[in-house]
Symmetry: C2
Subunit: 367 residues, 2 copies
């Protein structure tokens, strides 16, 4: 069923999208400000994927770049819609709706900027079901819809169209080169598809799930209930039904570098009890990729590894990690369509150069 989103929903959505960002995805609070600026007292229509007609034409919109750069280089604001319009002009066809390519992080918000500016509805679905660092890591691509042609817009009105046919990795490689030369961030429109293709290839209802997660965390805090139980309860009825607490501790080391257009590095979380040698090490490329507890792998991409404040459950991005922060690390299971062999080829451990194989978090860590 379609529903309506207003500025009052954006804080909850941002909180939930940061959790689904699994450390990356870019800070949605900047995206929230962009939406608020355009939306004002207006509203955005959000379409349930089941309600799409097969012939409907959907053009997803997004920001790409290193999260470490995104928080310092704020968009002018017109870029996402310029990317959409550039792709429409190239294809000779207007979009009936936009959609996220990534429901985690700032890309939960960018399609809302476009919707508020153009009046287009937004489809409640995405192609990552979380955040991933590369444009080719999409369920869209896994199930046969390719990213090309991609349109890219820069803050000085630069427009670039990239067409690599079915080769989404080459599309990512070339678009990343442009984003780097634009200072580390760019806005894009890609994976144009029909309503039928959305229904076949997208992870459904991820905007509403992010909103529900953010709202549940806030309400639990307001009512002095456990926000961690609220997260588990909210996810129990979704495609992300398993939640595991992987570690509780404080951040004792963070190593982070912005390289090749990505934020790469690792974080160490030590036990709160100083006499304990327990520790968790998390490796990331924009998003958290692996969690090792005392050297043992307990969660691995594409399952979600989320670092949150140990009391409030406020999600913390990799660029927000600070020495001494007290945190909990949650492992959340991804939907089955993101765990098939073809999905794991696109965004499983090997796609990040990791030697470990994928095992579901619910199989590795006790509830």
């Amino acid at each position: 069923m379609s529903w309506t989103l207003t500025a009052a929903d954006l804080s909850d959505l941002a909180r939930g999208a940061t959790l689904l960002g699994t450390g990356g995805g870019g800070d949605p609070y900047i995206g929230k400000m962009l939406v608020e600026q355009v939306l004002g007292q207006g509203s955005i229509t959000v379409l349930d994927p089941d309600d799409l007609s097969d012939e409907m034409f959907v053009i997803p919109t997004a920001q790409m770049g290193a999260p470490t750069v995104m928080i310092e280089k704020i968009p002018a604001g017109f870029e996402p819609t310029l990317a959409l319009r550039t792709l429409e002009e190239h294809l000779g066809r207007r979009a009936d709706a936009t959609m996220p390519i990534e429901c985690g992080g700032i890309n939960s918000m960018i399609p809302l900027v476009v919707a508020a500016e153009t009046g287009l509805p937004v489809v409640d679905a995405d192609g990552m079901g979380r955040a991933f660092p590369e444009l080719s890591m999409e369920t869209f691509a896994v199930y046969g819809v390719h990213g090309s042609p991609l349109a890219l817009a820069g803050e000085r009105g630069e427009r670039v169209i990239i067409d690599t046919g079915d080769d989404d990795k080459q599309m990512e490689w070339l678009a990343r080169g442009i984003a780097i030369r634009l200072g580390g961030v760019a806005h894009i429109a890609e994976y144009a598809m029909s309503g039928a293709e959305v229904k076949r290839t997208a992870v459904p209802r991820t905007i509403s799930m992010a909103l529900a997660l953010g709202r549940a965390i806030r309400l639990a805090r307001e009512e002095n209930r456990s926000p961690f139980e609220a997260i588990a309860t909210t996810l129990s009825t979704t495609l992300y039904s398993h939640v595991r607490e992987l570690f509780v501790g404080k951040v004792s080391d963070v190593e982070r570098r912005t390289t090749d257009g990505f934020a790469k590095g690792s974080a160490v979380i030590s036990a709160l009890d100083p006499s304990s040698t327990d520790r968790m090490e998390i490796a990331f490329q924009n998003e958290n990729l692996t969690a090792h507890r005392n050297g043992e792998l307990v969660a691995i991409v594409p399952d979600l590894i989320c670092v949150v404040d140990h009391e409030s459950a406020e999600p913390i991005t990799t660029e927000g990690l600070r020495y001494g922060q007290r945190v909990r690390v949650l492992g959340i299971s991804t939907p089955e369509m993101m765990r098939t062999p073809e999905a794991l080829r696109a965004f499983g451990p090997a796609a990040f150069g990791l030697s470990e194989s994928f095992t579901p978090v619910e199989g590795r860590a006790r509830a």
Copy 2:
């Protein structure tokens, strides 16, 4: 007057284009092989710029990249025409002719590959009057025709369109980023313009000049005359009327690195007489930029600094420079339209970060 070019002309054209490449421009002998492959026994119509109708639509075609990479990474062959077709499709208009953007080096040949493949004529003019390393260094841009939109094609059929409005330096920056990610070489179509714009902004008759230079050098060798006198005689009736011998010696040092998509470095040429301390130092970024004789500047970009074999006058590119080669260094004056204040802003010394100001080679070096 229009004229016809056949495969029999290509060796002379390649020799002349290498001279005009002033050390860079990419090796035209590879381009020559590409033309021969497509042209066979056919011919190409070359249009004199004076004969163009004002309404004629011209799309120049070229290769971009580091010459050091170009000699190792041979194009598949279809890329230049794919770039042309991509730009035609984007603009919704078919070209009536193609044209070089650069008459020196391999870009004397790339438009001939397109002409042979498509049957289009080639305009006898270009936008550099020699070779330059960057796409923004064009008399077209200096006199008001901009490079965007630019279409770029890669060897696996990748197609990219870049539109930076009037900002040709930003166009160069983004296109270079793509070329680097394609392995260091790409093919492009850019600076689409009318016949009237060609007549106003292009350096005229540079294909025929390159052909005449190459032919004059060959004939002088065959008839045991001085090829150096043949060069001077040929140029005396063109817009490049001053030729100066800047140095005779042997290559004693070459420092060369491929960085940021360019071949950068310097060469030292020492006197043939071992008791002499005379030396010439040449700095280059793809093309030769400055020539210092015993520390004194004797020629500087945009005038041509050409290193040739000391006896045969065969031009030598920077990637062809070898320790011990006996060479002569020639300085050749560029046309007045390349020495105006606006032209020097685009491709004079300051555009390369050089602190020296431009002084014509005929004013610095004795005849």
